[in-house]
Amino acid sequence: MPAPPIANAIRRLRFEHGEMTQAELAQKIGMTRQTVAAIEQNKYSPSLEAAFRIARAFGASLEEVFQWAE
């Protein structure tokens, strides 16, 4: 299945939040580290709820985290 045309800034946002680890982000949003890694690498598109949780973890808006990259 081709990757969806959705880019994300999770890696940069983690860096800007004190090098937050994937495990720390995963704990904040109630997911596994592997799922965060899959989202970050654009291998898995999260649900809307999970996307909001990620954005809230960074204190950012949804579009600051996820962009439609077509």
């Binding site: 299945m1 109630g30 997911m31 596994t32 592997q34 291998k43 999260p46």
Partner: protein, 154 residues
């Protein structure tokens, strides 16, 4: 490797070793009509108990390695993998069980030649083993599809 991927591997390894052993022991004897019903039932019960014990023991070991993941509910990605693999496994299981049911007249007709002393038990044994093989195949596919998803990460 995540906790739930380990669980899928445990399932595959347990099935291949314990139920593989069952198949190697039981199926040739069943096809040849050797052994008696008690042997097959004993082998089945032994493999079932061993399978449960080994799966529980290995799952406890995996849980000790990932205590947080073991206590947590599956997240949405893991739940999706579980649903996808279960759907495929269900299709395989229903197809194989339906095939076994359609084959049952042939099984009943052929079974007296397997164990002439007890044709009814023969038919039950053969049908039971066909259904058991269907369950084994479906569970193998379920775990393999899950692992495939976890490996690809998508």
């Amino acid at each position: 490797m995540s906790y739930r991927e380990k669980i899928a591997w445990i399932s595959i390894v347990t099935i291949l070793t314990i139920w593989g052993y069952y198949c190697v022991r039981a199926l040739p004897a069943l096809a040849a009509g050797t052994g008696d019903v008690g042997d097959f039932v004993g082998l089945f019960i032994g493999c079932t108990i061993l399978s449960v014990v080994v799966q529980v023991a290995l799952t406890v070991v995996a849980a000790l390695m990932h205590p947080d993941d073991a206590e947590a509910r599956a997240d949405e990605r893991e739940a999706m993998y579980d649903l996808r693999s279960s759907r495929i496994a269900y299709l395989i299981l229903s197809t194989l069980v339906a095939t076994a049911a359609l084959a049952s007249p042939v099984v009943v007709a052929a079974s007296p030649t397997l164990f002439p002393a007890d044709p009814l038990a023969s038919a039950v044994l053969v049908m039971g083993n066909l259904i058991l093989l269907s369950l084994i195949a479906a569970e193998l596919v379920r775990a393999a599809v899950q692992i495939g998803h976890y490996r690809r990460g998508a």
